[in-house]
């Protein structure tokens, strides 16, 4: 996969900037700042990182919903970075998206059947009758009663709406689906239903997923590979097991250290025994990203050299890569809990 030769999607040097005003001055916000990734057919790549690090913008650039400032996007063997209008349309069919908000992403004035069939209509696929049949099959496949087609989205629960969104994404038989926090708003029992459905569909149809999520336990369950993003860049990527069991980048370690333990006998956060990798505060502004390593302002093992580009690329195993000057450094043990001193 890392070679990119057999890649379904290949992104190189992607940059997306947004014009913003900071204290009255016009500045560029670097939402995506030189990002590479590739995804193989039938593969799930998870993109993780704190909110605002550029995950959705990356996906929107790939889906050609936002104009990149620089970089190349190659999908199914052809460069799509500059395609427009009529030439983009066949590409759009092959890439679909399921959003987090099952409420906001479904038009409340359209019946479920119309929502699911919309892509078929736009691409003039099938007769009315054939479309209705396909909609019924899709609804059934995602676990809904085909008779739901006549109802409006507001009549459905969050989990059911997410199934509607998945049926809509499947209608055009895509080879690639972006799931942007698609299960994040769901209760665990419903989340598990939807995760299982996504896995089954991938097995049946061989679609690739770009799975954007902030829950690393969910990522571990669904993804083949994971890319950890910070301030518009990927700081580590690799097979899920490798990254979770042998993280290289201090930011990956910070994300893992922040996860609540699922065992009250082994509390990590509420116990006062502070994991030295745990990160404080918030990321810096993407308007003024730090020089060199973007994480250096919060990193417990940063040294002066971390401010100097380029940051070395370290490869722990084939395909498991991080960008860090001190991948083997250990932080000094943290003393007490961060708030303890004040109270």
């Amino acid at each position: 996969m890392s070679g990119g030769g057999g890649a379904l999607l290949e992104v190189r040097g992607l940059e997306v900037r947004f014009p913003v005003r900071v204290r009255g001055r016009r500045r560029a916000l670097r939402a995506v700042d030189g990002l590479d990734l590739e995804i193989g057919p039938g593969e799930t790549l998870a993109l993780v990182g704190e909110s605002g690090c550029g995950k959705s913008t990356t996906a929107r650039a790939i889906l050609r919903l936002v104009e990149p400032h620089a970089g190349r996007i190659v999908f199914e063997g052809r460069e799509i970075t500059a395609l427009r209008g009529r030439r983009l349309k066949p590409v759009r069919r092959r890439m679909q998206v399921v959003f987090q908000d099952p409420y906001g992403s479904l038009d409340p004035r359209m019946r479920v059947g119309q929502i699911v069939a919309e892509g078929l209509v736009i691409h003039r696929i099938g007769t009315r009758r054939e479309r209705a049949q396909k909609v019924a099959r899709l609804l059934e496949r995602v676990g809904l009663d085909p008779r739901c087609a006549d109802r409006y989205p507001h009549a459905f629960s969050g989990g059911q709406r997410q199934r509607i969104g998945i049926a809509r994404a499947l209608a055009l038989d895509p080879s690639f689906i972006v799931c942007d926090e698609a299960v994040s708003a769901l209760d665990v029992s419903i989340q598990a239903q939807v995760l299982n459905l996504l896995a089954e569909l991938q097995r049946e149809r061989g679609m690739a997923y770009l799975f954007i999520a902030h829950d690393l336990a969910v990522v571990r369950h669904v993804a083949h590979r994971v890319a950890v993003m910070y301030l518009g860049r990927i700081v580590e990527r690799g097979p899920v097991d490798a990254v979770f069991e042998r993280p290289l980048h201090p930011y990956t370690r910070a994300l893992l250290a922040a996860i609540p333990s699922a065992d009250p006998a082994r509390r990590t956060i509420g116990s006062g025994a502070r994991n030295p990798w745990r990160v404080a505060g918030d990321p810096p502004s993407p308007v003024d990203p730090p020089s060199g390593c973007p994480y250096r302002t919060r990193c417990p093992v940063a040294v002066a050299a971390c401010a100097e580009p380029p940051i070395p690329r370290v490869e722990a195993a084939p395909g498991h890569v991080a960008w860090c000057r001190r991948p083997d450094a250990e932080p000094a043990p943290a003393h007490g809990d961060s708030q303890g001193a004040h109270l």
């Binding site: 995760l195 336990a217 922040a258």
Partner: protein, 344 residues
């Protein structure tokens, strides 16, 4: 640390002080408007929280967690009615009988509230420090003027806000989500309450920031005898912070136990279902086992056991008779005709 928590779970505080209940909720029933008249959204809920202890209220959305907390603070939204139930608060008495004016004094001075969305609790056009100061001054016998300002800055520092003098002057939109939630916690703590009702306090935050806020809450309960009703749907948050857990389903408490017991040996099929549908960082990575279906809204809940239409262990009796919450061991209670029938 773990040793002292064990002791706490067995009924004594780590410092040896016996814990009389601070809050006791008995047989709470809350009704919301239904298609053909009022229907129960919360039904027969009884809870107890001891001073300095954290009781987690868990369950999927719609199970009645928020309404329960709002009923305790007597902040029920219009249209929601408390049909029955006692709310006894140590040193104050029956909250449900207090006149609104007296209740207003209890809110803040005795009971603080933190919500999921910090913005919903903050005034967007008022400096955050002033909001903390206002909360301090709102109560009789509290410092005013410059002393209150000084106290507000101290509070901001206590909840882990860097450069509190500077941040005092910030407006809510100038702060990150985590910082805003810290301000909300400072406001909730301003009058030194004995009970904090925290409704999904970290749900809207990034996991890194969630860890910081959980650390803060853990430090608060360690250093003071602040008790907490911690509402969450996240079992990880429960594992980190709670002493006891009450699992709610469809308006009822279906299982209640000390946290270690609940995680080690859950007995209600719903509790077991929650654990089995939870993706984990450790252990096998196989298929998740979801609970089929979803939480029925008030008014559409089945007779008998409210969980029976989603339950793998249901038998005829489950449709005929509603199981009551009954003790199966010391401090472990379950409302199920077949406790333990579904294994984790």
């Amino acid at each position: 640390m773990i040793g002292s928590r064990r002791a706490a779970a067995d009924g004594a505080r780590p410092d040896g002080v016996a814990n009389a209940p601070l809050l006791r909720v008995t047989d709470l029933r809350l009704e919301v408007p239904g298609a053909t008249g009022p229907v129960a959204a919360v039904d027969g809920v009884s809870l107890e929280i001891a001073a300095g202890r954290v009781l987690a209220l868990v369950g999927e959305s719609g199970s009645g967690k928020s309404l329960t907390a709002l009923a305790i603070a007597r902040l029920l939204p219009d249209g929601v009615v408390r049909r029955s139930g006692q709310l006894w608060f140590e040193g104050v008495g029956a909250l449900e009988r207090l006149p609104e004016r007296a209740m207003r004094a209890v809110r803040g001075a005795e009971i603080g509230f933190v919500f999921q969305e910090p913005m919903s609790a903050l005034n967007p056009v008022m400096r955050v420090g002033e909001q903390v100061r206002e909360a301090i001054e709102a109560h009789r016998g509290r410092p005013r003027g410059r002393a209150a300002r000084q106290r507000a800055i101290e509070l901001l520092a206590q909840v882990g806000i860097p450069e509190p003098e500077l941040r005092y002057r910030a407006y809510p939109h100038e702060l990150s989500g985590g910082m805003k939630q810290r301000v909300c916690i400072a406001i909730a703590l301003a009058a030194g309450p004995r009970l904090l009702l925290a409704d999904e306090p970290t749900t809207a935050l990034d996991v890194t920031v969630q860890a910081q806020v959980l650390e803060l809450l853990a430090a608060l309960r360690r250093r003071s005898s602040l008790a907490m009703l911690l509402i969450t749907h996240d079992l990880g948050v429960v594992a980190e912070l709670a002493d006891g857990v009450a699992v709610m389903y469809a308006g009822r408490v279906v299982e209640q136990a000390p946290v270690e017991v609940l995680f080690r040996a859950p007995l209600h099929p719903y509790t077991v279902g929650l654990f089995r549908s939870l993706p984990r960082l450790d252990g096998p990575r196989g298929r998740l086992v979801p609970i089929p279906g979803s939480v029925p809204p008030p008014g559409e809940r089945p007779a008998g056991c409210p969980f029976r239409n989603r339950c793998a262990a249901a038998v005829a009796r489950c449709a005929e008779q509603e199981p009551r919450l009954e003790s199966v061991a010391q401090r472990h209670a379950v409302a199920c005709w077949r406790p333990g029938a579904v294994t984790p």
